[in-house]
């Protein structure tokens, strides 16, 4: 299958919808999946972490669902609407039961939203999605959520928090790990076994409101090493694997016994650069003497962006498992601009810009990045260093373990500022639209407002902030889409950061298994069918 084709996706989507009907008659089927990261707990509210959320989606459901392209779809809520700028009403689905047969009502939603932000010692809490929301029950199947400020993202927030039964609202994380919340969730699978660090076993929920799933048993096995996952698939240990390493995609596609599925992801790989220091610690003149921070000059930033051969990176390093990027999210997502193609590779133009900016002979700069946190991160950074060297910038590279890198990149400098001058990082838009990315990466760093939390270059542009602020208060979808796109254009034209590419999410499966690829990197049994 081609890396990303809309028609292919549509066909698959239709097939996935059509298949359960056929599968009901099939005999009991088992599905084994090799996943890339370890869960930290089975408690759906303990840790906002991809593998946790992914497994929890099978057992528990959210009010609002996200389809394979992260568009919002009805799930436990049949419909929702904004009554006014600060009030949302959700109509809950009727006739839904938990695994033990008890009915799902508004009380369960209220209990959930009380528990989710208050799980003790949560390493990464769900409080962000619940905070500032006042809940009221209209009737057993209608709730209202009120906020102090206009909050267009309430339905998006409700697509993240898993609904648990009110009976389990006092259960501890350990209770969930041991499967002591006997009521279970409303989801299509039940928790059967959890061996920390090794596997999670699920069994089908016979009475699922959406129709019984074809898999009677699903096993997720943790395989953190990428070649191991591929080998396990080749050896027949598992039926499906996620996060296929880019190096192996071509070979697996050529294997008649296997199939590969991929789609563009919500993850962008980009460079953050020092916008806030007069003198940047890892930039000097070529002779080593101190110079003023050249990254504060727009022409230098443009030159650097133009010197990056994005198609080259995609082709030679990502092995075509990526798409050159011109903004923070691919333009199929909500809140993105149609006018931001990837910056064209133009070495001569870049040299000219650099000379115009007053650096005809370049300067010396050290790039920092992680090793192993993002797909091929060290190779990308090395390739970009090669490209900058050709531009006339004497470039050094230092890649660090993530544990060390993020600490220093966030607060390693003087006065707990970011330490580095130029870093390679990545960002996945978990909400499936651009407001989160813009808020975290490009908005002016402001702890009081909660803006720019991950803005490790401390980019600050009042025009951008104003536009984003407007977008965040606009409840009307069409208007907000435009405002977000406008903010994105300001940030990108000003080269607030330099995006390089969007990753593809890739799955591989044994012949006969069809995987519906998702932009959010989740591997869901609900999206895997057998022909």
């Amino acid at each position: 299958m081609k890396p990303f084709s809309v028609t292919g996706l549509k066909a698959l989507g239709l097939a996935a919808i059509a298949m359960p009907v056929l599968a009901v008659t099939a005999p009991a089927q088992e599905l084994k999946v090799g996943i890339s990261a370890e869960l930290s707990a089975m408690d759906p509210h303990y840790h906002n972490l991809t593998p946790n959320n992914m497994v929890s989606r099978h057992i528990y459901e959210t009010l609002v669902g996200q389809d394979e392209k992260q568009r919002l779809v009805p799930r436990l809520a049949e419909s929702w609407k904004a009554i006014d700028d600060t009030t949302w009403e959700f109509k809950l689905r009727k006739g839904v039961t938990f695994h033990d047969g008890s009915p799902f009502t508004a009380d369960d939603v209220i209990a959930t939203l009380q528990r989710a932000p208050n799980v003790p010692k949560s390493p990464s809490s769900f409080s962000a999605y619940v905070r500032g929301k006042e809940l009221s029950k209209v009737d057993d199947h209608t709730i209202r959520i009120k906020t102090a400020q206009p909050a267009p993202l309430v339905p998006t927030d409700m697509s993240v928090v898993a609904i648990i039964p009110a009976k389990c609202k006092d259960s501890t994380t350990e209770d969930f790990n041991l499967g002591k919340c006997a009521t279970g969730g409303t989801g299509p699978y039940k928790q059967a076994e959890y061996v920390a660090g090794d596997r999670v076993v699920l069994t089908a929920n016979e009475n699922y409101w959406g129709g019984k799933e074809p898999w009677s048993k699903v096993t997720f096995r943790v395989m953190t090493s990428a070649p191991t996952r591929v080998a396990a698939l080749l050896a027949g240990d598992v039926d499906v694997i996620e996060h296929v390493p880019t190096a192996d995609v071509a070979r697996l596609k050529g294997d008649a016994k296997l199939e590969v599925f991929s789609t563009v992801s919500n993850r962008v790989i980009y460079f953050h650069m020092d916008h806030f220091r007069e003198v940047s610690p890892f930039i000097t003149a070529k002779n080593g003497s101190e110079i003023k921070n050249p990254l504060r000059n727009l022409k230098v930033r443009q030159a650097l962006s133009m010197a990056i051969n994005r198609p080259g990176i995609v082709d030679r390093i990502m092995e075509k498992e990526a798409i050159p990027a011109g903004q923070l999210l691919p333009d199929v997502f909500f809140g993105t601009s149609k006018n931001l193609p990837p910056v064209k590779f133009d070495l001569a133009g870049a040299k000219k810009l650099l000379a115009e900016a007053g650096y005809p002979d370049g300067f010396k700069m050290k790039l920092h990045g992680t090793n192993g946190r993002y797909l091929n991160d060290t190779k990308i950074i090395e390739a970009v260093a090669q490209m900058f060297s050709r531009l006339g910038i004497e470039t050094e590279v230092e890649t660090l373990p993530a544990a060390n890198f993020f600490s220093r990149a966030s607060q390693g400098g003087a006065g707990n500022t970011p330490e580095f001058s130029f870093i390679l990082v990545g960002w996945g838009a978990g909400t499936g639209e651009s407001s989160d990315s813009l808020k975290a990466l490009l908005a002016t760093f402001d702890p009081k407002k909660g803006m720019g939390a991950t803005n490790r270059g401390r980019y600050s542009n009042p025009d951008f902030d104003a536009k984003l602020d407007e977008a965040l208060r606009t409840v009307d979808d069409a208007k907000r889409d435009l405002a977000l796109a406008a903010a994105m254009e300001i940030g990108m034209k000003d080269v607030g950061l330099i995006p390089t590419h969007y990753q593809l999410n890739t799955w591989a499966a044994r012949k006969g298994f069809k995987v519906l690829p998702r932009t959010d990197e989740y591997t869901l049994a609900m999206g895997i069918r057998k022909e």
């Binding site: 591929v230 051969n309 030679r316 390093i317 060290t378 660090l400 373990p401």
Partner: protein, 307 residues
């Protein structure tokens, strides 16, 4: 080294008076043809490593000389710069032949320095422990326990975080990880030797402690130490690869053989076998040659194997 290592007991009268200990050592070493082959191979490898800047088609550490558009070229392809990549190129377009030649320099440096330093420190500490006994021995051996329980990944990570990446840092990490092995083994053997008559004899003759330890006990402990030195030096080189694999080894832009192998790891299933296999072969040849020499050295230096 060879002087002190020679047997002190019962020097054989034959064959001739003018044969110095060194000469006799060299003669008996060269009696074994396999060892001579190993030595030749090792000399060749060292020579190649030293001559790398002269014979390598590319400076693999010069970022402006390496082009990502040349990445993953199979052996024999011609690079964008126009030279032939006889062993192909790696994932960022580095010529593998050049990478291996330069990588040998780093790997040999890392192996030699960490091996010798760890052995020297470990042996000294182990001998002192065995000879001194009592509190000193207890203190030293508990320090050994401490060192052996620290995971090498953690040691390397802390060093990388505290000092940064580099050849010198990885040598420090490897010495830290390995000295305790020597200390533990040497102490074990030395404890046995200490009880032997010749030590008592030396002591009753009023020889100094240092002389007793280094001239008499040490040579008799050398055989097991040399086994470990050759094994651990080889292991140090592959441990460096493992640490690089785990992201706490050497910098990516100045790859050692280990880094090249670790980088090639992800291509093993993909068909671009050369990225991992050629550096692996180079590493294998290096280590085999070291061990052929080491095995013979151990036999020659072992006083108890004298006929």
């Amino acid at each position: 080294m060879s002087d002190t290592a020679l047997p002190q007991t019962a020097p054989p009268p034959a064959p001739a008076r003018e044969e110095t200990p060194l000469r006799r050592f060299v003669r008996s070493f060269f009696e074994d043809r396999v060892a001579v082959f190993g030595l030749g191979l090792f000399a060749l490898i060292v020579l190649l490593a030293l001559a790398a800047p002269l014979i390598a088609p590319q400076n693999p550490y010069d970022l402006s000389a390496v082009d990502v558009m040349d990445s993953r070229l199979p052996p024999g392809e011609v690079s964008g710069e126009g030279f032939t990549m006889w062993l192909g190129s790696d994932g960022v377009g580095r010529d593998l032949l050049s990478g291996i030649l330069y990588g040998l320099r780093i790997s040999l440096t890392v192996g030699a320095f960490s091996g010798i330093l760890a052995a020297a420190i470990g042996m000294a500490v182990g001998l002192i422990a065995a000879y001194a006994g009592g509190r000193t021995e207890s203190a030293i051996m508990r320090l050994v326990d401490l060192q052996l329980s620290l995971p090498s990944v953690l040691v390397a990570l802390i060093l990388v975080a505290g000092l940064g990446k580099g050849v010198d840092k990885i040598i420090i990490a490897l010495v830290l990880v390995q000295w305790a092995y020597y200390a533990r083994t040497v102490r074990g053997t030395a404890l046995v030797e200490r009880r032997k008559e010749y030590v008592e004899a030396a002591q009753s003759l009023g020889l100094s402690h240092a002389r007793t330890v280094f001239r008499h006990i040490l040579p008799n402990c050398l055989a097991p130490v040399i086994v470990i030195v050759t094994v651990q030096t080889a292991h140090a080189i592959s441990l460096e690869a493992t640490l690089s694999f785990l992201g706490v080894g050497l910098p990516q832009t100045e790859p050692s053989l280990g880094v090249l192998i670790a980088n090639g790891f992800q291509y093993m299933l993909s068909g671009s076998y050369w990225i991992s296999v050629f550096p692996g072969l180079a590493l294998l040849l290096t280590i085999v040659s070291i061990n052929l020499v080491g095995d013979r050295l151990r036999d020659v230096l072992n006083p108890r194997l004298e006929k």
